[in-house]
Symmetry: C3
């Protein structure tokens, strides 16, 4: 059985990653090259030239086509060879590479994981908040040496924040946290609420009242196939949040044991203040590159070829409720798809 | 059949390697974490958290326990989970990691390779000379990419010194060396005596009479499972040795094709002279890291998956008498253990 | 079936690569050590000592023999152990390493790929132009991560020059090139002629009349087992060439997926001008290391375990005529040899 769901949308890249320089990227076990046509439309086709197997990504763009670096065959956005510069210029009938159904929306380039014919544009997850006028999103991506679901486990499980990110998000009253996991419409929502808390270290630096006490609330929302959005907020009394951040986390399998991680943090305040951008990037570096990634990759190495901790674990915790449900929904969908 | 003997003691670390910072070490195919309790007692337990498989060695010590870096489960020296900081704090009944029987003695941390119940403290090899008052030992360790027995072959075979360490131990009259191999009580003793010799280069620098002639005698003593002590001495007439060094060499399998090598040199003279320490460290660097290790690792690569040269070699030499006997004793014991 | 022809000559090294320092080289799946005897004669014997498997190449030369770095066994040019420095000095009867039939000719050290007895000195390819008095050859070699035939494909197929080497050899009128492929006596000759052309960029810098127009002609001659010589010339009218270079390209398999590439460029003008040498080396660096190698290695990675593009390709081009014929001749010869 496939380790990923096919008939669904994945993220291939942040929009800004794709331009007029060919981008090599392996997604869902496929070697691809991504680029933009002259009108800006993104293209994703197979990266292996069908002539002598050079990567097209080492070649160059000629108008809306990509030219193989080895012998100059040109391919268009459909993957069809459209020019042979040699001899009688005849194009070999089968000279084509696969093409992939992609769509740019909300600053992301989405790719359909299954057959083109089944692609459903209406099924692209709505992340329109990423482009709302009064917001600003600082984004990035990481290549990770772990199965994509191990990352989803991490994101859905909010309890790890108190340990893996103790220097940023640790608070004293964590022991009294309350966890709520709900599931509806193939979505899972996890809320972890810590009552009567001080501000966590990461918020304190930016807060107007660093000594305030209130409710520290973390919320994660998972949806198919591997998208998590989360809020981190701090409520003083029942007022407006003193602090609120909104995170986007999307995983796309590269192979069974590697993945691409696309993340962003969207804010509604101090939009034009570059020092806030810097603070967000520092958090991404600290939290994602230096804390989560080494732990998740080390755990993946410990697990060897296995990728599902649910069956292996002899210490299941109630805090895994969210990720266990997310895995169950996905597994069910993959099984249905396999027939 | 196992490539190592189980019911015996191996060295896990030099005492000074283990402290209040968790130490990750793979020994006998097991992933371990080693640390000391607050009272200084060493602990060795499995390194893979049974919850989500993060390495405990990336976590931190809380009193006598180690806390998982990912979700904060705490484990004690027996490997039992003793604290779950989440929800109702209940500890999952099977939440434990393996624990290993270890014992600190003579500046070394020993680990029992078999079942705890069979561990016999009286069977720890007596290396008490390492702690005698009027001695000083300069020690170190190397991670090596070779089966541990290829290193033992090297140590028991004294004849390689004239070639691999020619710049340190080579002497002209080597052709007249006499070799004696004796075996008793599952121990092997090899003595190589070179008569009427000049001092070898390494000794000359430190000797009072650099031009003295006499007997250059190398002796190696092997014992189960993979311990070699050796003497290198130079006798002028039948007097006290002009020069004498006492070496300790212990190999512990990491995997079938990698090992940990623990070595030390014990002296009874100029105990407080740091320049002698420096000279010993220079010899360890030259002899062990730059001469033995590259040759043994290169030979291991040449041998591929095979680890026993005895059957492969078409050029057995009488000087292999010691290592052939040591391998035979060990092989016999492993076979007995396998039943 | 073997991936290479056995009863034929391969290049083991440029003459200047082999001297009184042992050279480790893997050729045709064999680990070898190459060196020269005191009279200058080259030797190639197996690199793995039959005693404890150390690489002889880590040892040193003693007269015409090589001494093992580990225990000092000495081997002569026939691979026979001729000295044992230990004990009674008896030489174990089977103490020998394989020896290989090699022959130095035209600045190259050739090695016979099959049984010694079948070696035919008259069959060494005639590359005597490499040593003609009024010539100078600038040579080099590369280790490549690709099957040797993928490199031969590259060399026989002249059409790639317009794309992979566009900055050096690209010309505007390439679309009107005429290709001629001929086959005779198990040799393949490919000529690509571009009429009414400007000088390609690489020639322009060195030409007396940079703005001349004429015929730009590339010719490649393949012969068994994996040798390509090529000419690149530019003819103004039917006169003497304005520019002519003569290249030698020889591939020797290391393993199925790696190879040694020996190349040289021979010239008949400005023999003593070191600036021309520098220009040739710059071209080798640019064309071979920075252009061909990355493309061929990337294509090899794309092909995985497969090494024959002919059957895999869905876009065969007429310009592959030469390399398809060369592969066919070689395949036929390998099949005959396998009986």
């Amino acid at each position: 059985m496939s380790y990923y769901l096919k008939n669904t949308w994945y993220v291939a890249a942040w929009s800004e990653e794709v331009g007029r320089e060919p981008l090599r990227r392996k997604l869902l076990d496929h070697e691809l090259v991504l680029y933009r046509k002259e009108d800006g439309q993104p293209v994703a086709i197979g990266n292996m030239c069908p002539h002598r197997f050079a990567p097209l990504s080492m070649g160059k763009l000629i108008g809306d086509c990509i030219e193989c670096p080895y012998h100059g065959l040109r391919f268009d956005e459909t993957g069809q060879c459209v020019a042979n510069p040699h001899g009688n210029k005849a194009i070999p009938p089968k000279a084509r590479v696969p093409s992939f159904c992609i769509e740019e929306r909300n600053g992301l380039i989405w790719i359909w994981g299954g057959d083109r014919g089944a692609a459903d544009l209406d099924a692209i997850p709505d992340l329109s908040y990423l482009e709302e006028p009064a917001t600003r999103t600082v984004s990035g991506s990481l290549h990770v040496e772990a199965n994509y679901q191990l990352y989803i486990d991490n994101l859905v499980d909010l309890s790890h924040a108190q340990f893996a990110h103790a220097d940023q998000l640790g608070v004293e009253n964590f022991g009294n946290a309350e966890l709520e996991v709900t599931e509806a419409d193939e979505k899972v929502c996890v809320v972890l609420a810590i009552p009567d808390s001080e501000l966590p270290p990461a918020m304190r630096a930016m807060a107007e009242e660093p000594e305030a006490r209130g409710s520290f609330i973390l919320e994660a929302n998972w949806q198919l196939p591997s998208i998590v959005t989360n809020h981190i907020q701090f409520l003083k009394d029942s007022d407006e949040p003193v602090f609120k951040s909104f995170g986007t986390h999307i995983l796309t399998p590269e192979t069974k044991h590697t993945a691409h991680y696309f993340y962003g943090l969207t804010r509604r305040h101090r939009l034009d203040d570059p020092s806030v951008d810097d603070a967000v990037r520092a958090w991404h570096l600290r939290g994602f590159s230096e804390q989560d990634k080494p732990i998740i990759e080390a755990a993946a190495r410990m697990m060897g070829d296995e990728t599902d901790p649910v069956g292996m674990s002899t210490a299941p915790l109630p805090t895994d409720g969210g990720n266990v449900r997310a895995r169950r929904i996905l597994k069910q969908r993959i099984a249905e798809e396999a027939g």
